[in-house]
Subunit: 512 residues, 2 copies
Amino acid sequence: MIRNAVGRLIPEEIDGRKLKPFAGAHNDHGGGRKVGPPIRAVVDYGNKLLKSLDEAIDACQIQDGMTVSFHHHLRNGDYLVNLVVDELAARGLKDLTLAPSALFPIHESLVKHVENGVISHIEGSMNGPVGQACSLGKMKKTCILRSHGGRYRAIQDGDLPIDVAFIAAPAADEHGNCNGLSGPSACGVMSYSLADSLYADRVVVVTDNLVPFPNYPWIIRGGNVDYVCTVDKLGDPEQIVSGTTRITRSPTRLLIAQYAARFVRDIGLIEEPHFSFQSGAGGISLAFLKYIGDIMRQRGIKADFARGGSNKFLVDMLEEGLIGYILDGQCFDMVGARSLRENPNHLETDPFTSYNYHTKGNFATRVRVAVLGATEIDLDFNVNVNTHSDGWLLHGIGGFADVCDAQITVITAPLLRGRLSTIVDSVTTVTVPGETIDVLVTEHGLAVNPARRDILDRLKGSDIPLRTIEELRALAVDMAGVPRKPEFEERIVALIEYRDGTVIDTVRQLKV
Amino acid sequence: MIRNAVGRLIPEEIDGRKLKPFAGAHNDHGGGRKVGPPIRAVVDYGNKLLKSLDEAIDACQIQDGMTVSFHHHLRNGDYLVNLVVDELAARGLKDLTLAPSALFPIHESLVKHVENGVISHIEGSMNGPVGQACSLGKMKKTCILRSHGGRYRAIQDGDLPIDVAFIAAPAADEHGNCNGLSGPSACGVMSYSLADSLYADRVVVVTDNLVPFPNYPWIIRGGNVDYVCTVDKLGDPEQIVSGTTRITRSPTRLLIAQYAARFVRDIGLIEEPHFSFQSGAGGISLAFLKYIGDIMRQRGIKADFARGGSNKFLVDMLEEGLIGYILDGQCFDMVGARSLRENPNHLETDPFTSYNYHTKGNFATRVRVAVLGATEIDLDFNVNVNTHSDGWLLHGIGGFADVCDAQITVITAPLLRGRLSTIVDSVTTVTVPGETIDVLVTEHGLAVNPARRDILDRLKGSDIPLRTIEELRALAVDMAGVPRKPEFEERIVALIEYRDGTVIDTVRQLKV
């Protein structure tokens, strides 16, 4: 075991694969070469449109031990993962690696395929029951969690070779050009599958909305697709994009959002040229959008761009002219999806463009301020978004590690959550290192990472209560006591891979 | 020397590189893996905007013997190639390989850099004086000509490794996102540089129109760009896109165009579902557009799409509703460029999407009928578009070899050109094999490739004069005699590479 740069012990090797311990957020300068996908010839691609998903699965000649990938743009409405894995199980396949960008509660039935040996392990985010199964040690091999950008990087760099990618396409033509803009399963952005389309050995596009050629925009290009097939329904529209996203009504959370917006105002950020921001889709983040919008309107300031996850509040700002562009990575509600389809200043981005760390620059680093929620934060400003305080692995990384490359990263969190302190001595799991976190905003004021003296200087004159993180921690302990640490077995069940491919932490089997 | 599938003698090796002789148009099924470009990290791309082209050249650390690439979307108005190569010469660099997608007469000054050893040879199309220099044996090494799709394939497959790509961008932001839609050098489509941006070791974007981030569409993605710099002028707007393209006024050529359109009508092609076509920008091709438009209008038929080179006539058809989409590869006039910018059904395509043979399908094979001009055609239907009958290498391949993958490929040519027969016993240079050419249309009627019995059957009842190619050849000889063959030296000065990477012919030094 080697102690990495955030003090976590990382095995030298796991499942026969050598691990690189995390060595600092900006210590990786690339090197080596991207992976070269197989060369195929046009002559063998006369007709790609197959009669059924079954036929497509046959055509791919999937074998025991292969890696099969999926994507999460249909979120908790997705039918495809279960459809395919059930079918693979019915064919008696074993020891498959599943490489979804993320899984949701709807994928709970995968747990039985883990138990019966169809799935050996998962490289991807696991929200809910599948993560729980991982925590219980049910996977044969060690799971790997990656951020959106980290997943692109891993596929591109050859760390995650994919044999067959199944891409759920809300709209596709027979050549395989697809996007998420129309059809019964329209989800808006669908570019999480980009890396898979470029690098997987075989690529299957599955749609419930076959449209005439040419389907444009070709977010996934037909030239990277082996087979196209149709199914009755890709998913449950109600669960694919929520009808509406709602601002929090909790006074505590509203106060946190207000502090975050005032912080951005008070350090003079919105008055600088080229203001831009990113905020999530949680209740606090949406309230932040409202408050920052009010300030911008008041001061007559327009942001060059905002990064999505898009939602009604962001779209309102775009339509009002408060934002020049939405650079979207995911549509969180119907209004976001509609705007992406209709507004020429609402642009679909993908994990290469936005988040991949092994590129010649990405959009994440251009964002002036990012406002994100977190499960735990510790005295070193390390953040955990993966495991709950009770030790269960219940969440993926999403774009978290990538977004923290913003010029200023702000974590918003109530001091207590479920009567437990959000601020801990040391997070259960390190998702991102404290060196990439600049400010913590709570309802009791904000704490600035001492490494960011510049921010502390800029805050002079602000009337937001300023605390050290230790003070906020003490306050929380006063209110709720020191939380009990979860107990773990020795066995490592998952690795938390940082955006550069190093291992920042491990997740151990929960003692239950 | 090995005799290839069209009977041409190909050396086993040239300049230390093993050659694959052409083995049939559809004999290549891929294999092996694409090349993996170097892995770089975001941390090293804080500010890409350099002060000058000079500074960008410095940053690239170009050394003797390296390969430097350019693109031809500014056509005969391009200033960039000369600017850069003059600068490289001034620095005393030697033995550079130049890899432009195409050169034009404006690049004549490169000849002196060939003579003084700055440039060892060229891998790319040479229109005019540079081709002439090649014919005279001035290049130190053997040049390689590739089609647009073949160039993409060669870069992707690692046959043409590029050290530094210079991309002339009519509009670019400081991140390197670029397109050809606006600015003083607006050219419309600029996607010939796509492969270079993806695979070159270093990528420099040069613009005379720096626009705010995010510049969209990002035809070239900033994430693939190392440096951005500005120059006063990228080119001469008058020469970048012509103000207008003109239909031929020659009665002979109009007749040929009319026969071509009647051919398409008489075989019932436009009545089939999913009609689509591609036609060039020469006088006959434009007249073909007019005639085919008349027929479609008359019969109330709409094409799913037409492939560009776009021009006024094609745009008129789009705007009238005769075409669903223009899938454009290059804008030949101002109207084409304007339509690409404004019309959501006028789409920019790139050589990957359209032409690359080593993909999982491309657009070229989806085209129902392509109508193309040619310099020479022989009794085996082999076509030459590279050398004139007098042996001078004066033209590139363009998309020719790629477009011939259309379902029906029609060559239009007057029987005589400059008092020489266009139809010859054996073409001076084989650009594409006769097996990919289906019909020759002349003012004396048309000849169908005997391999296409299906087309002959479909022509029953047509009143277009039907001839064998031998009959047309005899007619031409009657009128103009047998043309004198050019005389060549032994030395091979250029290879004609087929779209799959095999060598279909060689070009020899001209005896002068």
